[in-house]
Amino acid sequence: MNPISAIHLGLVDYGILIVYFGFVLGIGFALKRSMKGSGDFFLSGRSIPAWVTGLAFLSANLGAQEVIGMAASGAKYGLMTSHFYWVGAIPAMVFLAIFMMPFYYGSKARSVPEYLKLRFDEKTRGFNAISFAVMTIFSSGISLHALAKLLETLVHWNYWTCITVCALIVLVYIFLGGLTSAIYNEVLQFFMIVMGFAPLVYLALKDAGGWTVLKEKLIPVATSQGYAAGTWSQSWAHLGNPVENPMGVGWFGMVMGLGFVLSFGYWCTDFLVVQRAMAADSMSAARRTPLIAAIPKMLFPALVILPGMIAIALHHQSGGMFLPTAADGTPDYNMVIPTLLAKYLPTGLLGIGFTALMASFMSGMAGNVTAFNTVWTYDIYQSYFAPGKSDSHYLWMGRVATVFGILVSVGAAFLASQFNNIMDMLQLVFGFVNAPLFATFLLGMFWKRTTGHGAFFGLLGGTLGAMLFHGLALAKGCLPGIKGGWLQPMFSFQSEMGQNFWMAIVAWSACFGLTIVISLLTRRTKTDEDLKGLVYSLTPRPKAEAEAWYQRPVLVGVLVMVAVVILNLLFL
């Protein structure tokens, strides 16, 4: 058997894809009538039920890069990849639901940067809004580029045709239906992924001989690379020392870097995901949004990581004939999902799986575009360029920003296709900006003494701290430069991932310390009255409404945490 190089779609598969495009556009057209004001376009009029915002919350993060990347990590690192879910997502989602959502939703802020404006001052908001707007638009471009490149290799479609068609479809449905359209399509995408990947995982696991046999087959994968036998099928057992596992990460870096700083920084402050919860129809629904997302999220490793583990086991068993080989001679891990799709799914099911993949690329892009047009219109355009205009003017601006955002995304995709290094550089800079963010929010929400100057300069200091650390740290086998160590390689890491986790820890600590010190040295500009609804100690607790047990955020949050601990123990 030879590794696959292409997917052959049948007539039925094309039919399934076209039906999907039809529904996506149809949802946009059907929602057009509901878009009466800017609040409908950017916030869905705060009218979406919790199960819809919850699944969209999960789906907005589940771009195809995530699906393909997690399967690749499953092959490269084994079950340890589940830490990105069980450590690096669930606790932060529960924290957002229980502790932070009351401020985001209750303050009536229309975006995360606007919360910073209400809590701190204009400059903190400006810094966050502008960096966020630039980042989302480039992420959208990178998503678009990845999609077109994958389709070019797999089904031999023309790169620019893919870009144009996908960008146009996303443009039309957001232009017409705004955030509601994006959210509805994200939920549709969630079900497509589940429906498309479940039979794939079932067949692949059956072919590998089931879970117990798979674990045995993963032993030679680990031992042949010099690791202990269970490295690919255990999540915690090999985290004692970074040299013991292929990730090159120890337990402290994993828990603090990924589990605390990066995870809370993303899930609790990134407007892309928080926007979904803000669209919920009540405070209770907003708080339940991340919890509803957490339940499928903790089971997703079975759909996205397990395929990678199966593929590498079969690859090893077949003497290196299952996955194609990358340029550097290692297996091409990014081809895990395409390989499994082509091998196990006959025409019909293949159409569902392939459409699911395209759907997740497009909704990944749409999520970025909706977050961008909101931050641009409310936090940049309305605050700096045109305050005090009519609501219909801002609705119009939102549509203009959608067109503009998509055009810039296409431009970013072009840049990515021409200069790979520019994208690496940008993602590096985004990493510097994002790493310290959670310290600012944590202090802002739970310490009323935090001042605007403290927040702004703390954030700036944290970003510089990240940069400085990057200049001093280098992973094994890397050359000084974009990978780090450009000042003076002083700290050596087992892997780039380990280096990245520690950079986050350093940036967060720098921001946390600086914010406290500067806040104590500067005068408060906001009174206790101003901060009501924005800071924990000054906000009345939400009254326990007479709700069913499954609607109470704290109780459900605790249950979710118990479930995730059990999952970790099962796959220790």
Binding site: G26, V52, L188, F191, M195, T347, G348, L349
Partner: protein
């Protein structure tokens, strides 16, 4: 007011279920071999059809 999302969800998976059932009923032996001797296309088509119909049913109840 936005329309109920369960309507398009129900419709699309009813259609996909029907397509897969048709594809499953006309599977060639080669396709069955690809899915390890089981007609997964047919089974999964029935699952999707039932999911789609359930969504449609739920959207009609207020």
């Amino acid at each position: 007011m936005n329309f109920d999302l369960r309507i398009p969800l129900g419709l699309i998976f009813t259609i996909y279920g029907a397509i897969l059932i048709a594809a499953g009923l006309t599977s060639t032996p080669e396709m069955i071999r690809q899915t390890l001797g089981q007609n997964i296309t047919l089974t999964w088509g029935i699952v999707q059809l039932l999911f789609g119909l359930t969504m449609l049913l739920l959207s009609r109840k207020k």
